[in-house]
Symmetry: C2
Subunit: 399 residues, 2 copies
């Protein structure tokens, strides 16, 4: 699981955090991650039609294939801010580039916070000299603090992987608690590695890991305008550059999945108001697409999520959510398990013992398994429960 | 709007309600609607793969095109109950048929309540002689009471329409408060008319009205295993049978849409824990399908629903929900209105006055309009807000 509060060092990178006054609270709200030289970088972004200005800017700049720095603010999303918002994002990256003495095109940006308000650029740029001066190899925890919004705890993960006899390191930061959905929703994640990776393999391995981790968690089914996950690779480990289809690729993929999995599950544990993490496994689907769809339908069903909050083993709601897509699930073949306990088979409840179910439902992490009896594909998502605190937090956010 | 508590009479039909003990509370839980003779009947049902036994039975029996009676119980869904559940549903209809002295195939059934528990058939059948004895022309309010579950108020509607110089009557009952979604979710509705309608026109006009009413409301995005809407037409008004494509068809369609619209909006007003009805209009879409998809995405976004509960004019969440489908909405052309107040245009917030927005957000019924700038299609849905009470009700349902 996530190694909270533990700092880490990845050769070739430095980081820092600061309080610039974007957040009215005066808390940390500005982070900078900087590579010692331009390094290969890839990103995965929100699919929302209303992409925030920093998302548009960062996608454009990543076309070059390399980057040097990422500047991140919390407290303001710089989304739905028109042309001025794009100019604001560029102004922040220009200030960072000037202070670092590097081309502006090498600076990426990300933002998270309220939608529809202009970014206070003056406050941010005034803080950038201090931010750059604070950059240090063990500054990732400080950067993590500065990207948090409604997060209750920081989310970092560090993994070591051996590639062709060389040890490489993967370190990740993430923020995200609300607006989290299987298609990348308000979450930001920045992952650094000292591995050397070929460009094609880097894009492929990151997409693979993101699909199975960040895109497999849901808090509330809402997709943000700002979701951004970036991977930067310094190559300082001195390994032979990783290519697709090799053993080293497999090892890097597994390490990256482990690191991003830590961060993704931490986001669900920290879901707004969440008291439980529900792991939903769909097995024996005909296609991966159907397995994903069923898992997501269960994970996003408010009736299911509220029942888990209440510790109520109301398994009919899980069956009903799975069937609501009308995919033609074979009613008699489907089996439903709560942890190892069979609840439903042959088209009916099997009379599992109520005290056992209540004991399982009281746990902080609970696995639900649906075996569809249609094929051999599977998918897994992690969801939070729906609680009074979720409603309280989101009924009061901008007030 | 819905004419609550007002009873009505539709020539050719009688109804009754009773308490049979299915509900542990001892409340009314059994309803019977009966036509004086077999009448044309059509139905629309849940698309859930796990259809409840009464849904399967009623769909089969409706293939004959006519029906005589509908028996409905609340308190138990008779869903996920296997072969025994199907036998239970048949046993109840057999008891009704015997008491009425009619063929069993002319009796339809519907159930609502908890999933996965056997129906207490003995208690129900023991009550049927009394239920049949109670049948009367003004018994619809009593039947309505017996089909309610978590509903806070009864939902009935009565309309008169003139078809070719003849006045015909349309009367509808509905139940539904939770598990409500645009694709027919735990709602039951029974609509009686004394109009004479040709079979093809009857199916068509009912599907049209259901799509624009019951399928356009959402409480929690969850689809039930038991959704059933039935239309029965006695022909007692003596009008020339309504055919598709005629003026009378248009008048019947409008009357039916008005009647079902009353019931649908009443379901949202009575949504579990709901304090507000949000009308979401999507206009200027390229296709009706896209208009529906955007309206539904906004209507089901927990962040939007929680903001409405809190009276928070956080319009960024509406934009974000609309864009989350990735349909390629043209950011600069999209306009968002809260009632008549423009909030977003040209890709940015327009600085609508906060006090005006807060005043509107405090109203019990609020219209949101999204103009997409893509074409000429539109769609409208009604949604409830997401509240503490929704969570409370659904965290405790089966306990």
């Amino acid at each position: 699981m996530s190694t909270e509060r533990k700092t880490f060092v990845i050769g070739g990178f430095r980081a820092a955090g600061a309080a610039s006054g974007v957040k009215p609270s005066g808390g940390m709200d500005l982070a900078l991650i900087c590579a010692d030289e331009p390094v290969p970088a890839v990103g995965v972004f929100t699919g929302n039609d209303f992409k925030a200005a920093p998302v548009v800017l960062t996608r454009e700049r990543l076309a070059a294939g390399t980057a040097r720095a990422v500047v991140v603010n919390s407290g303001n999303a710089n989304a739905a801010t028109g042309e001025e918002g794009h100019a604001d994002a560029r102004a922040v990256t220009a200030a960072v580039a000037k202070e670092l003495g590097i081309p502006e095109a090498e600076v990426l940006a990300a933002s998270t916070g309220i939608i529809g308000h202009r970014l206070p650029v003056g406050r941010i740029t005034a803080k950038i000299p201090e931010l750059v001066a604070r950059l240090r190899a063990d500054g990732f925890m400080e950067a993590e603090e500065a990207i948090m919004t409604t997060d209750r705890f920081p989310k970092t993960s560090f993994r070591e992987v051996t590639l062709g006899g060389k040890t490489v390191r993967i370190g990740g930061l993430a923020k995200g608690a609300g607006m989290i959905e299987p298609s990348m929703a308000t979450m930001l994640s920045f992952v650094m590695t000292d591995a050397a990776v070929e460009r094609e393999a880097m894009g492929r391995v990151f997409r693979h890991a993101v699909d199975r981790t960040f895109n497999a968690v849901t808090v509330d089914g809402c997709m943000s305008t700002n979701d951004t996950a970036l991977l930067m690779a310094s190559g300082r480990a001195g390994n032979r550059p990783v290519r697709s289809g090799t053993a080293a690729y497999g090892a890097l993929r597994d390490g990256l999945c482990a690191c991003l999995g830590d961060l993704a599950r931490a986001m669900v544990r920290d879901g707004e108001g969440a008291t439980k993490v529900i792991e939903i496994r769909v097995e024996e689907a005909a296609t991966t697409r159907e397995a994903k769809a069923v898992a997501k339908a269960v994970a996003n069903a408010n009736l299911v999520k509220a029942a888990f909050f209440g510790g109520d083993p109301n398994w009919g709601r899980i069956i009903s959510a799975a069937g609501s897509l009308g995919l033609g699930l074979p009613e008699k073949a489907v089996r439903l398990y709560l942890e190892d306990v069979l609840l439903f088979a042959g088209g009916r409840g099997v009379g599992a013992p109520e005290p056992t179910l209540r004991e399982i439902m009281a746990r902080p992490e609970i696995a639900v398994t649906l075996r569809l009896g249609m094929g051999r594909r599977s998918w897994r998502v992690w969801a939070s429960d729906l609680t009074f605190d979720y409603v309280r937090i989101n009924a009061q956010y901008s007030t």
